[in-house]
Symmetry: C2
Subunit: 284 residues, 2 copies
């Protein structure tokens, strides 16, 4: 087991801070970077990192760097890092969309390995960072055919130290899967809320809405900035997912229009039977 | 406060059994009817009712009867009761769809008052019946213009004894509101599950699906027989709700296609802002 690596973490929010805590506990030397001096101070005071600075050049001798910024800052951060890092350094990111990111990032830095830890919680920011956030959760790596296997192995080893379940796939497959299970539900739930809000029965609907409506609309009523960013960065895969979904909804609607209750029940039975392969109702 | 009424309850499942428990606790005389002798015995053994019989004629002197059977049995049960009841008796039901039911029921029995308690739990049957199931929950009555006000008052008084929040509306408005907040989410969630199940990325999607997918698909992956019955009995209102939803989803999809991220964000912001009027994330 590799320990004592010099690891840089750019962006000390929920994900960056939680990575820092877990990797520090594994005996690595953790160097944090945040644009905000106050976040650096907090990270030091709470012993999330060993060192913290607003200056990217503090990472110039890092062996591996995790870019944990918002998606829009990943390529700019990498471009800046590329002027400073040792050529043997590995860079990985935690962005939730990979297709438009991994190829240009690999052009900028050949030892880039795209990553996406599928962990989260409702709260954001360093104060929400916690040990064990990645334990037992999926962590996807999306290497390209030309990605150096040794770089993938190195990131893989750290992911295993986090206790995550590793999945390796190509960036396009990642984006399509994430569009289906994460971004599509946001769009469905938001459309459900809008349909109800614009209905003549809105007031009665407000009074009658219960746990089924609550759960179905939860992510659709979530953070709108995040939802719009998902759509923007994963546009192609999300549109494909919306088209697949639309085709399914049309099939079901037609069966209802035709009063073909056997077909409706067969459709709902298939959905019922398939769900346990995706999720369990035990708390995640 | 009226107590000591002779109340008949036909169908001793979750709703009928829970009504019996609460109304018995209010000092009423509870006469249960279940087709199955074993259910009658259990209802007596567990003191859910004072009297139980598989024979509807045991209710011939009831002052008020709650029909708590599956929807398909409501009109047949009422037809049979109509040959036995005292003409002053009031009959109400707990069916989740009212439009196709209340007018014919009122033709059969003029003192019929359509009702729908919006309470439930995952388990079904008498063994799931519990005190307080209706406490603080909506209970909708759907009288027709010709419904005797005294009959509505009598049912209202019992609903208040259950601690429910009363809503009075016409059957069509009830069905449209319920289609939006209860039946539409089932169809959306089922279509989401089917879209994922038929995707080439199914296997990866199964591995990555998390709490957002779990919640959005929960009612869509629920009881298929119940879902098909909802569609069958509320066909017109559900199709109208599906059309409203479809129009909303198309608007959002077009904004994503056009890459109009401001419009996408405005749409998601509206959904986010409207949700608290419908539901709270505190447990219901």
């Amino acid at each position: 087991v590799t320990t004592g690596m010099k690891i840089g973490i750019v962006g000390l929010g929920l994900i960056g801070g939680s990575l820092a805590l877990d990797l520090k506990a594994q005996g690595h030397d953790i160097w944090g970077v945040s644009r905000r001096e106050s976040t650096c101070q907090m990270a030091l005071a709470q012993a999330v990192v060993h060192h913290a600075s607003p200056d990217l050049s503090s990472l110039d001798s890092a062996e591996i760097v995790f870019i944990c910024t918002p998606i829009s800052a990943i390529l700019p951060t990498l471009t800046e890092l590329a002027t400073m890092l040792d050529p043997t350094a590995i860079v990985t990111d935690v962005g939730s969309v990979k297709g438009e990111l991994v190829a240009p990032a690999t052009d900028i830095w050949p030892r880039f390995v795209g990553g996406h830890p599928m962990s989260g919680k409702a709260e954001a920011g360093l104060s929400a960072a916690t040990r064990g956030l990645f334990q037992g959760r999926p962590y996807v790596l999306t290497p390209l055919p030309q990605t150096l296997p040794a770089a993938v192995s190195q990131v893989t080893e750290l992911i295993e130290q986090l206790g995550s379940t590793l999945h390796v796939t190509d960036p396009t497959a990642h984006d399509r899967a994430v569009a289906l299970i994460s971004h599509l539900p946001v769009m469905l739930g938001a459309s459900l809320l809008q349909a109800c809000a614009h209905s003549p029965q809105r007031s009665l609907a407000e009074n009658l809405a219960s746990s089924g409506f609550r759960d179905t609309s939860r992510v659709g009523g979530g953070n709108p900035e995040l939802g719009a960013l998902m759509a923007q960065y994963n546009q192609a895969a999300l549109l494909a997912a919306l088209a697949d979904y639309q085709a399914q909804l049309t099939q079901l609607t037609q069966a209802i229009e035709q009063g073909d209750w056997q077909r409706v029940q067969a459709y709902l039975t298939a959905a019922h039977q398939q769900r346990p392969a995706f999720v369990s109702d035990r708390p995640l």
